[in-house]
């Protein structure tokens, strides 16, 4: 691809968690990198060669880094391909995604890592990075080739939605990954309590007659994981906390100085169990939507910095997997295109400063995984998003770019329109009219 034309993004509200700056400014990008960041709305003496974009006061921030994205490639391309996911990401202002290894075949050896990276290079949209499986076939028994996958370019290891129940396997895999400097992500769920359940155990689920799992299953597994993180010294990424109860465990572990970071999905910040309403399967998630107390606790934990990263938990499921009785429907929701406007909702509700919310989807995930992203800094890749944070958007699932349309935000009104997304200085999404 030829180098993109230099571009000047002027008259913007810069939001840069790395420097802590939230104010008027401009960014100049050339040769794929940020060549200048100015804390004033205009840039004087620009050559006519340079494409100038007047942001009209819209937010200009580092492109989002979403570390938990599922596609269907390889193996289930009807759900989502790497390309359709990268297009959806670009439309959502997400410039880097980390795809999950629970594909067919699983990403548990270096040639599959290599396959994904090669495909990602050819796509040339948002950047796609693979996470590797922690165990072979995500079966929770034998360690996957963590070292070789790391060398091939995987960013962290995880068995995704399948908790590793055998503590010896978990301990060794964490120890081994730590020896290679590879972060280890794990879903805190005790499968003996959550297997075959479809909802959060509560009075609501009971009245609905849903098979439900108790919130405590999350804390039980989290406590074990944190203890193993302490024993092994490994970097633990707590994947998608959903209960208020577990936050206490997390807080203790962080106070102890353990290498632990926690994520929460945008869905668990936005909805609660009542949204399931009349058995709407688009709200069937894993972990399940919890009570309103839990949601409130998660929002507070995010605002207070206890939770580090917000993820879309993008999980495409085609209609045939969702149009089923609630207990039988596939869990998960697409989220790449709604992550940013949904997160901005917390800003509009004055739950957290904009810059802190943005940190959770830019700087913090980038630092956690060692990506050169998430900052408006000279010399950094020009991965940028311009978003009119006040503009209303009505989500229409049918108009989503994702191949699967299972959005729980369908029909909802959000605020925050992604106007422009740049990856390496190149415009990959343009919603200006």
């Amino acid at each position: 691809m030829p180098a993109p034309r230099p571009i000047a993004l002027v008259n913007a509200r810069l939001v840069d968690p790395a420097s802590g700056y939230d104010g008027p400014g401009s960014v100049l990008a050339a040769s794929g990198v940020i060549s200048d960041v100015l804390q004033k709305p205009a840039i004087e003496g620009l050559s006519p060669e340079i494409e100038t974009v007047d942001c009209g006061g819209a937010m200009l921030a580092p492109g989002l880094v979403d570390i938990r994205v599922k596609t269907g490639e390889p193996g289930a391309e009807t759900k989502e391909t790497l390309k359709s996911a990268a297009r959806a990401a670009a439309a959502g202002g997400v410039t880097s995604i980390v795809v999950q290894p629970d594909t067919e075949p699983a990403v548990d050896e270096p040639s599959v890592v290599d396959f994904i990276l090669r495909r990602a290079r050819d796509i040339g949209l948002s950047k796609v990075y693979p996470a590797g499986a922690a165990t072979k076939g995500l079966a929770g028994q034998e360690m996957a080739e963590i070292g070789l996958m790391r060398e091939a370019g995987c960013l962290y290891v995880t068995d995704v939605d399948r908790p590793i129940t055998n503590s010896q396997v978990m301990r060794r895999a964490m120890t081994y990954a730590h020896g290679f400097g590879v972060p280890f992500a794990h879903r805190p769920a005790d499968p003996s309590l959550s297997e075959l359940t479809a909802a959060h155990e509560s009075e609501f689920a009971a009245r609905m007659g849903l098979v439900a799992g108790p919130a405590i299953g999350e804390r039980i597994m989290l406590e074990r994981d944190l203890a193993l993180a302490e024993l092994t010294g490994a970097t633990l990424i707590v994947d998608q906390l959903s209960t208020g109860d577990a936050l206490e465990s997390l807080e203790r572990a962080k106070a102890k100085g353990l290498n632990v970071r926690a994520t929460v999905s945008i869905n668990h910040l936005s909805f609660n169990e009542i949204d399931i309403g009349d058995y709407r399967t688009f709200y069937k998630l894993s972990p399940p939507l919890r009570g309103e107390d839990d949601r409130q606790a998660l929002v507070e934990a995010l605002a207070g910095g206890l939770i580090d990263v917000v993820v879309s938990a993008h999980a495409p499921a085609p209609a045939e997997d969702k149009r089923l009785p609630f207990d039988e429907a596939a869990p998960g929701a697409v989220g790449l295109e709604t992550l940013l406007p949904a997160l901005l909702g917390l800003h509009h509700e004055r739950r957290a400063p904009l810059i802190d919310l943005m940190a959770a989807v830019t700087l913090k995930p980038a630092r956690l995984l060692g990506l050169d992203a998430g900052a408006l800094a000279k010399g950094a890749p020009a991965d940028l998003v311009v978003c009119d944070i006040g503009a209303p958007v009505k989500v229409d699932a049918d108009r989503l770019i994702s191949k699967s349309k299972n959005s729980p935000f369908d029909g909802r009104s959000l605020q925050g329109k992604v106007m422009l997304t740049l990856v390496d200085g190149r415009i990959v999404h343009d919603a200006r009219v």
């Binding site: 996957a144 080739e145 963590i146 070292g147 060398e151 081994y176």
Partner: protein
């Protein structure tokens, strides 16, 4: 190092009573005794290179090899050592699997003790088995490998091989690489080499490194490239096949990629580097044949030769102690 022709008289002159009744751990030797033992072994190396190797230093003594675990190499090394010294050698290989451990081990010991051997060489799969036997018999017990604990004569032969190759052990940087967790060779070597003043490094994947290894006085590395950088000696350890299939190490190919010794990784060591391996080797797993078979850098064959000599030294010295008792 110039080889001085040593005779039987020199060997007799160098013989000294072993500082302990038994030799179950490398820690049984202090620095002086260790050096003296290596000097004595040097004498045996010279004698072993003569045509007529048979001596009578252990004439009338009975050496019993009691190997609960198979080991062709170590057992024949002890057997040869005993025979060359003129001892009567008996090999026993009770099948460990048919025995319930502990109780029967002591039963066996008591039975054997009644046959009045002088020197009992023991190999057993359980850590501490040699010490347990030593408490129950009246002869001298030599630990030829107990579980994951120690293999002190291996450490001696390694030290002798290094001393002969470099003229000294003091100041050498020795990288012990691979499955340290399960290795009795590593544990004995750490003790012996540190006593002789070497700088010891332990290199291996985090899953194969014992808890607290960083407090053994050795530097711990999880990256072979960095672990062998500027090393004088690279000692590779054997990785048991059953440990390569996912529980501790993902696969053979991953192990070789990161922890197998090949030319490229070895190039980071000193140009004068020597490579060692206690054997038997897993070629293509922990060591590339290309490296293992290069006589210019490999001490692996020397190690086998030194094995007989140090065992002769240990047997002679322990017998001298029995003479005094």
């Amino acid at each position: 190092m110039a080889t001085i022709a040593l005779g039987v008289d020199d060997v007799r002159a160098r013989t000294f009573p072993f500082p302990a009744r038994h030799f179950t751990s490398a820690a049984d030797l202090d620095r002086d005794a260790l050096a003296a033992l290596l000097d004595l072994a040097d004498g045996f190396v010279a004698l072993n290179r003569e045509k007529a190797k048979k001596l009578d230093l252990l004439k009338g003594r009975t050496l019993m090899n009691l190997f609960f675990e198979n080991s062709t190499r170590t057992q024949s090394s002890f057997e040869l050592a005993g025979k060359r010294l003129g001892a009567d050698v008996v090999n026993m290989s009770p099948r460990a699997s048919s025995m319930s451990k502990g109780e029967t081990l002591i039963d066996t010991a008591v039975t054997l003790n009644a046959m009045r051997p002088d020197l009992l060489v023991v190999r057993h799969s359980a850590s501490g088995a040699a010490s347990l036997l030593a408490q129950k018999v009246s002869c001298s017990v030599i630990n030829a490998g107990d579980g994951q604990h120690e293999h002190p004569t291996q450490a001696l032969l390694d030290a002798l091989s290094m001393r002969r190759a470099f003229g000294r052990v003091e100041g050498l940087t020795v990288a012990i690489c691979g499955d340290v967790l399960h290795s009795r060779v590593a544990r004995s070597n750490v003790l012996t080499l540190q006593l002789l003043g070497a700088r010891v490094r332990l290199v291996g994947p985090a899953t194969l490194m014992p808890v607290g290894a960083d407090r053994w006085g050795a530097e711990v590395f999880h990256d072979l490239r960095r672990g062998v950088a500027d090393a004088d000696v690279v000692m590779m350890l054997r990785l048991q096949l059953e440990r390569m299939t996912g529980s501790l190490v993902p696969s053979t190919r991953e192990y070789f990629r990161f922890f197998g010794l090949d030319r490229e990784k070895l190039a980071r060591a000193k140009p004068t580097v020597k490579v060692m391996h206690p054997g038997p080797m897993n070629r293509g797993v922990e060591i590339d044949s290309d490296v293992a078979d290069d006589v210019a850098i490999s001490l692996i064959q020397d190690q086998v030769e030194m094995g007989v000599a140090v065992r002769m030294a240990v047997l002679t010295s322990l017998a001298a102690r029995l003479d005094n008792d």
